[in-house]
């Protein structure tokens, strides 16, 4: 990325322009939530301060404008991930809700006692617990794809897990702890051989990779707005029409119905069937602004730069004695996790914070993965397009300071 582009980007994110404990903020907690470019908050404010209205069914001008803006955002998102139809884009409040929706609605029609669901060992709790609930409710069984020491999912083991009782496979695109990019395309190919649908948890994938759901051929793809420079409280569930059509509604109420009598209620068509209640129009418009910002900046430029940054960070950290990295496989994106010998991650995180560096420590909502490695947590640094090599240099220095303090 050209330096001028990087500077331009940095100037678009007001939150970068602050000091923490007297030092310029170095924000390496992007996997938890990214900062927002000013166009996002501007677009939200503009929406509320002008066309602010509830959508659908309103005859008045503002309501029409709001509806058009909302439905245009749906089409933008459809194009951004290359879905076939805009009605395959369902708005939710985030990845967690998207997965809960699928777990509920898919299992209602397709999972019965004795059936099996496959996830991987490196899933976020959001892609574990909803399936555990389904298993408990239905008497189904959860099976786990293991990984090798470098963090690669073991594909042969996966194929062996599949039986005729396997009804769905749900895996993360990119691990939020290790940054490993999982071979989702391979997993989808294998699963489809057995006619098993695959849902991809794209909470981390959406921001670091070009997503083309047609090419991936995944059956479901989920992500959160707030992890791709958009606002909180809005998320997306992409689902193939053929599956969404066959799934019953999840939440019920206004918008998602066609006809209500006390005797019998009939439901609306896609996508509305899955969108009960007043949607988060402001949030959806903010998300659209974020995606537009990315497209305008140039996706390839961003992905290349992020790759460069990650490589640089990995190199830098590899020079530090007493630093143990996790997830060393080569296919990585956006995230590194490590520990310092003899130093608790909480201690390290606290001192890094004092030095103006925001990292996350702990189990990152992926406790089974952390347990399987046999540690109590990691220090996680996760990068975004506005981070710099200079910040990574400072980070490496700060780690040395931490080691000295606890040495």
């Amino acid at each position: 990325m050209k330096e001028s582009t990087l500077n331009k980007i940095r100037s678009d994110f007001p939150a970068l322009n602050q000091k923490i404990n007297g030092r310029p903020l170095i924000y390496f907690d992007n996997a938890a939530t990214t900062l927002k470019p000013e166009v996002v908050t501007d677009s939200i404010a503009t929406y509320y301060n002008s066309i602010n209205s509830n959508v659908h069914r309103g005859v008045h001008f503002l309501s029409q404008e709001a509806t058009d803006a909302f439905e245009n955002a749906r089409i933008s998102i459809q194009k951004f991930i290359n879905a076939s139809h805009s009605h395959e884009i369902i708005f939710t409040k985030g990845t967690t809700e998207s997965i809960n929706l699928i777990a509920y609605s898919f299992s209602k029609n397709f999972i019965k006692e004795g059936d099996e669901i496959i996830i991987s060992v490196m899933e976020h709790h959001a892609n574990i617990v909803p399936w555990q609930m389904v298993c408990e409710e239905k008497g189904a069984k959860l099976k786990i794809i293991p990984m090798d020491d470098a963090g690669n999912l073991i594909i042969e083991d996966f194929e062996n897990l599949i039986t005729e009782k396997t009804k769905i496979v749900s895996v993360s695109h990119i691990s939020n702890v290790l940054g490993i990019v999982n071979p989702v395309k391979k997993i989808i190919e294998i699963s489809h051989k057995y006619n098993i649908p695959v849902m991809v948890d794209g909470a981390q994938g959406i921001v670091h990779k070009k997503i083309d759901v047609a090419e991936l051929d995944c059956d479901f793809y989920c992500f959160s707005g707030h992890k791709i420079y958009g606002p909180m409280g809005v998320g997306v569930l992409y689902g193939k029409e053929k599956w969404l059509e066959k799934m019953p509604p999840y939440q019920t109420g206004g918008e998602m119905i066609k006809n209500v009598t006390f005797k019998k209620t009939t439901f609306n068509e896609l996508p509305f069937k899955f969108e009960a209640g007043t949607p988060n129009v402001g949030g959806v418009i903010g998300l659209q602004a974020a995606l537009n910002y990315l497209s305008a900046t140039g996706l390839d430029i961003i992905y290349d730069y992020e790759e460069e940054l990650l490589k640089y960070a990995i190199e830098k950290l590899s020079l530090i004695d007493g630093l143990q990295s996790y997830g060393t496989a080569s296919n990585k994106s956006g995230v590194i996790s490590f520990l310092l010998d003899g130093i608790h991650q909480y201690d390290a995180g606290t001192i890094l914070d004092k030095l103006g560096i925001a990292v996350r420590t702990g189990n990152h909502c992926a406790q089974p993965l952390i347990d399987s490695i046999g540690i109590s947590g990691t220090i996680r640094a996760s990068f975004a397009m506005y981070n710099t090599k200079d910040e990574i240099d400072k980070f490496a220095e700060a780690i040395l300071t931490v080691q000295e303090m606890f040495g």
């Binding site: 959508v55 659908h56 069914r57 005859v59 029409q64 058009d68 439905e71 066609k258 609306n268």
Partner: protein
Amino acid sequence: MTIEEIENQLVEEFGLFDDWMDKYNYLIEMGKSLPVIDEKLKTDRYLISGCQSKVWVSAEMKDGKVIFKADSDAIITKGVISLLIRVLSNQTPDDIINANLSFLDKIGLKEHLSPTRSNGLTSMIKQMKLYALAFKAKMSK
């Protein structure tokens, strides 16, 4: 007259009004003068549902042309319907299928055809084109 000729005619007619109220008054007049359709066609079978104003539409084939009949319980909707019928009724299936109906934009009534507007008109046009398609398929057998 061809679809295009009728469209031009309508654009001209509406060009006479420079304020919205006259335009709507004219639309209301047209709505009122839309031939009343047979009450027995006002059944669920012909109903475009899920809308604020109900719209019924039926079609039949006569001498290679499609004759539409339609109605609504809202008069403005009826007005727009009467325009659509003037344009599309008594035309060949092919012409109906290919009509782009840009005249509604030109006379400042495009808003009524927004797919998000729940007056049933968008669904009605879709339905009219579906009828035309069906007749075309039948003819070519």
